[in-house]
């Protein structure tokens, strides 16, 4: 136990506690002193709080690693370098294209993209609906003076209303069902791919690659089952489905910091890498001393020299330059040249 405590990261613990405390405060005030809090969702709330603590802890540990910290630090420096509005626009554009639409998946296959988009969109909409409901930030009431207008409140403020029995009401009340269908179709595509493609079969493992898909399918199927149970089967097996749904969702939530789902949190760093690249190009490109061609931004090359040294690698050459000054092609060529020289010294090219 003492050993485990010693391995904990102090900074990360502090940040995780602070963020969790902030969420608890927001839950308290957002639900108007808990009067709008739905006690039936308490188990989901505990799962979410644990997930937030775990995600914040892991994220903070993660960004402290030298290469990650370098990007994090540079990302902030470049973002606030006097062109904040431009970078904010760039960030928004990339967020829509890369995070919202996941455009980079499309060149790897249109069905692959569609399946990934369905899972991502399904999960994001489900999060957007269930988290505020669990926190008591959103709740619905009948509008005063009638029984056919429903009002949605956010943080206690009325944000919109709709007529019961209308198309908007149907779409709103079944929003989680649409998310479930999206997640099921997307997950089945990837499950099929993972069970049939030799390259994936060779490199995957059950808990990292198959279990997340199975879990998403269980969550979605049991969620849909709740609707079908009360609408078409007179509540048949409702309690069983509700418990199964809650268990699978809570496993999903508490597993976010540890498994495959952490990439949902990690992925926006890709936008930081794009800003870093774009700003680096403006500052100047590095030229490979072997090929004579530009191959990377000079800022990246310089930062990598620093990061590799911090990690215990020293590629400095006797002449004061670095092996990292070379492009990948230059590195390969110099290795081949060194090999040729060694062979020539050995007196036989082929041995």
């Amino acid at each position: 136990m003492v050993t485990i405590l010693r391995t904990l990261n102090g900074k990360a613990l502090l940040v995780a506690f602070a963020v969790t405390a902030l969420l608890l405060a927001l839950i308290f005030y957002g639900s108007r002193d808990l009067q709008n809090f739905d006690a039936a969702l308490i188990t989901y709330l505990f799962g979410t709080i644990f997930a937030l603590f775990g995600v914040t802890y892991r994220y903070t540990v993660w960004i402290q690693r030298p290469p990650t910290w370098m990007y994090f630090k540079r990302g902030f420096q470049l973002f606030f370098n006097g062109r904040i509005l431009y970078h904010f626009g760039f960030f928004l554009k990339k967020s829509v294209v890369n995070i919202g639409l996941q455009k980079f998946v499309y060149p790897r296959g249109k069905y692959r993209w569609l399946a990934h988009f369905l899972i991502a969109f399904g999960c994001m909409t489900a999060f957007a609906i269930t988290l505020p409901l669990t926190f008591g930030w959103i709740h619905f009431t009948l509008a005063p003076g009638g029984i056919d207008i429903y009002e949605a409140h956010f943080f206690g403020f009325t944000v919109f209303n709709f007529k019961l029995g209308s198309l908007i009401a149907f779409m709103t009340f079944h929003a989680l069902n649409w998310s479930s269908y999206m997640v099921i179709f997307g997950s089945l595509y990837f499950l099929r791919k993972r069970l049939t493609q030799p390259g994936l079969i060779a490199t995957q493992n059950f808990e990292s690659d198959l279990l997340p898909l199975i879990l998403l399918i269980i969550i979605s199927v049991t969620g849909l089952g709740l609707t079908y149970s009360y609408q078409f089967m007179k509540g048949f097996a409702f309690d069983f489905l509700a418990v199964l749904h809650a268990i699978s969702v809570i496993i999903f939530l508490i597993w976010i910091p540890f498994g495959k789902f952490f990439h949902i949190i990690q992925r926006p760093a890709q936008i930081g890498a794009h800003i870093y690249r774009e700003e680096g190009i403006k500052q100047g490109m590095a030229v490979c001393p072997h090929t004579g061609n530009q191959f990377d931004t000079q800022m990246h090359v310089n930062d990598l020299k620093e990061v590799t040294k911090e990690l215990g690698f020293n590629f400095d050459k006797p002449d004061g330059t670095s092996h990292l000054d070379l492009s990948p092609e230059g590195k390969r060529s110099l290795l081949a040249k060194a090999h040729l020289e060694a062979r020539l010294k050995g007196g036989n090219l082929f041995g």
Partner: protein, 190 residues
């Protein structure tokens, strides 16, 4: 049978760059690798085309302490129990190119349209079930060989496999060997 039982640790990769004739058969074969998603990952380059027709061939050397994995800000590169350094995990890789620029052998490739790093995994779909990597099965000149130490010793009696490389101040040990003059124990690049 589990993969662990089928991977043959006695089989090793031996590269002899001077034997490369630049035919690029390995490039075509590499694109058949299932773990690469049918993208060719092997590198065949002219060393210095203005002065020599010498070509060089480069597979991932699968370093003992892989720089690529160390500099990855997204923890996307991992090394398994057989010493294979795997290509970037697609869900984690943020396409920053740290690994591309830090690899001392110039191996990882950034595929811009996927915003993803990809590299040789020593045909893990094949080697994990006891087969040879695609490139080594088609190389006509013996520049790429996958087999036992006894086999290579018999084929190349005047050479020694070396897996220690010196890049300035850095010593890098790898799983893949390069064939050197007999008695060598390292290849010094600088």
């Amino acid at each position: 049978m589990s993969i662990e039982n089928m991977y043959n640790p006695n089989l090793e990769f031996f590269v002899d760059m001077q034997r490369c004739i630049g035919c690029k058969a390995c490039e075509m074969a590499c694109a058949e690798c299932e773990t690469n998603g049918h993208e060719s990952m092997i590198h065949v380059n002219y060393v210095d085309r203005a002065t020599t027709i010498q070509t060089t061939v480069q597979v991932c050397m699968h370093c003992e302490d892989p720089v690529c994995a160390n500099v990855c800000p997204a923890d996307a590169i991992s090394k398994d129990e057989f010493g294979i350094v795997h290509t970037a995990n697609t869900e984690r890789c943020i396409g920053c190119s740290n690994c591309v620029q830090a690899c001392p052998f110039g191996v990882p490739k950034k595929v811009e349209e996927y915003d993803l790093m990809m590299k040789c995994t020593m045909c893990y779909d094949r080697t994990s079930i006891g087969k040879k990597p695609m490139c080594a099965t088609v190389c006509p000149s013996g520049a790429l060989f996958f087999g036992t130490r006894e086999e290579i010793a018999e084929m190349r009696p005047n050479s020694t496999p070396v897996n220690t490389f010196i890049f300035g101040e850095e010593i890098v040990n790898t799983k893949v060997n390069i064939m050197m003059p007999k008695g060598s124990n390292e290849l010094r690049i600088y």
